[in-house]
């Protein structure tokens, strides 16, 4: 209990620290490029109170979550399959590398133009961009799997399904949580970028329009909304970690 408490205060301390630095900086600079945190949170409160915040948030969040789930499913399957089958690993090696190294901006551009501007396109795009990251993470973590334990499993003729659900997945929970963190932010970023570069709704679009008219205050208000949601997600991840990792 005590440790939980120190954990929360440490987490909050850094946020408070950032806001204080921000407040001081904005007071020193004093221009529209850096509005004070109070003004920004005021705008945010307006956005929320008037209910205008929810539609863009819902749009972005919905796309992010669906794309993320797709990516985790694909990535985990890929990671385990690649660790288990040499042929599969070799077949997908270059494809995966290509997926990893293709600039996201170019992918966004290509996808939006050739597949049309639908939620489906963005979800697919997120899945494709995030999958290799999750996939390599899982594949490499699987490479660290203890040989002694693999020997044990072979000795006991533990079947593939059992090995996956009983050994690999539990072993993978910590790396999956880490990959999940990275993957979620990446999904969120891809959704956001697609909105900025041509999908006209969601938080990304709001940020982009505020930016175009040099309204940094509104831009930051949207950004804060986004960050608050993220912090909630982070707490959910921690909860998941506490529930799943008991050993």
């Amino acid at each position: 209990m005590i440790t939980r408490l120190t954990a929360y205060s440490a987490q909050i301390a850094s946020l408070v620290f950032i806001v204080i630095v921000w407040a001081i900086a904005s007071a020193v600079v004093n221009m529209s490029a850096l509005p004070s945190p109070f003004a920004v949170f005021g705008t945010l409160a307006d956005l929320v109170a008037s209910g205008r915040a929810f539609e863009p948030l819902g749009n972005t969040l919905g796309r992010t979550i669906l794309g993320f789930v797709l990516a985790i499913l694909l990535g985990t399957t890929y990671g385990i399959a690649a660790a288990l089958s040499r042929t599969f690993a070799e077949l997908t090696r270059w494809l995966l590398q290509i997926a990893i190294f293709t600039p996201t901006l170019i992918l966004i551009f290509l996808f939006l133009i050739s597949l049309g501007r639908s939620n489906g396109t963005i979800i697919l795009l997120i899945g494709l961009v995030v999958m290799p990251v999750v996939g390599t993470y899982i594949r490499d973590a699987m490479g660290d799997f203890d040989d002694d334990l693999s020997g044990m499993a072979r000795s006991y003729h533990v079947g593939l399904w059992q090995r996956v659900t009983g050994m690999y997945l539990p072993f993978l929970i910590p790396p999956l949580l880490a990959a999940g963190r990275i993957g979620f932010t990446l999904s969120w970023k891809v959704a956001f970028l697609s909105e900025i570069f041509g999908f006209p709704n969601g938080i990304g679009w709001q940020v982009k329009t505020s930016y175009d008219i040099y309204n940094i205050q509104t831009l930051l208000a949207w950004l804060m909304l986004f960050i608050i949601v993220l912090l909630v997600v982070e707490q959910l991840m921690r909860l998941a970690e506490r529930t799943f990792v008991k050993w």
Partner: protein, 259 residues
């Protein structure tokens, strides 16, 4: 595990890629006939040749490429050092991790464009803008990966170190670093790939030079072929570095830590 012959492996590697290019060719030649938006493989190759012969808008292509590469390398190196050092600290002390968790999470989740938006209005047009945006974004996953690796070090070995009063430095160099070495190489790999992917976004928004400016130019005038060409060049550069530097490194580390 059975070993495969080199040629067999190459065949497996290349087959799906060749098939992919075939599909691309067929699509752009028969279905989506619009060379401006859906360039054919041949058109892209022509563009690649032009880029390599230093032809293109807005001055020397090589200068643009060099400045992009420099930004990428500098920010990647900075991010790697920061991320690893903080990550080791955070992996050992839960409080440190908790303190950094939210800022790291924020740094990582806010897209590069937005960082660039913000830094640009704060710092003006300067190299520091894309570099700090990249450092922000790249150090976050390195930090998390390292912390994860440190936390995954077996507690009985940590206890052994305590028992033998292994000092700070020795513990870092001989214990934590080797035991997280696989994580570190993975981090370096992942963050480098990430860097290659997002360096363009950081440049598109506002800099006097860099590949991002060229891509923005072509996207403003709606020509996809040079954009795809740049995409392929960056991808190839990333893959080459990955193949020549990181992969052998990772193999060596795996061998040394093999069980």
């Amino acid at each position: 595990m059975t070993t495969m012959s080199r040629s067999h492996r190459l065949l497996l590697n290349a087959a799906p890629v060749v098939v992919g290019i075939g599909i691309w060719w067929a699509l752009t030649t028969f279905v989506l006939v619009q060379p401006r938006l859906y360039p054919t493989p041949a058109a892209v190759v022509t563009e690649i040749v032009r880029i390599f012969s230093n032809e293109g808008p807005l001055g020397s292509t090589y200068v643009h490429a060099a400045s992009t590469l420099m930004r990428l390398l500098v920010s990647w190196a900075l991010a790697f050092v920061f991320g690893t050092l903080l990550g080791v600290l955070a992996g050992r002390k839960r409080v440190v991790f908790d303190f950094f968790a939210n800022p790291v999470w924020i740094a990582m989740a806010v897209p590069s464009v937005v960082w660039v938006f913000i830094f640009l209005v704060l710092f003006g047009i300067d190299n520091i803008v894309p570099i700090s945006a990249l450092v922000m974004l790249l150090s976050a996953p390195v930090f998390l990966g390292t912390a994860e690796g440190v936390r995954a070090t077996p507690p009985d070995l940590v206890e052994m170190c305590d028992s033998f009063h292994v000092g700070r430095w020795q513990r870092l160099v001989h214990f934590y670093l080797p035991s997280i070495a696989p994580y570190m190489v993975a981090n370096a790999r992942v963050s480098f790939a990430l860097g290659i992917r997002i360096v363009l976004i950081a440049e598109v928004i506002g800099l006097p030079n860099g590949v991002g400016i060229l891509v923005a130019y072509w996207s403003d005038t709606l020509y996809m072929a040079p954009i795809v060409a740049w995409g392929i060049i960056l991808m190839a550069a990333g893959m080459a570095i990955d193949h020549l530097v990181f992969a052998p490194l990772q193999r060596r580390i795996r061998q040394e830590s093999a069980d």
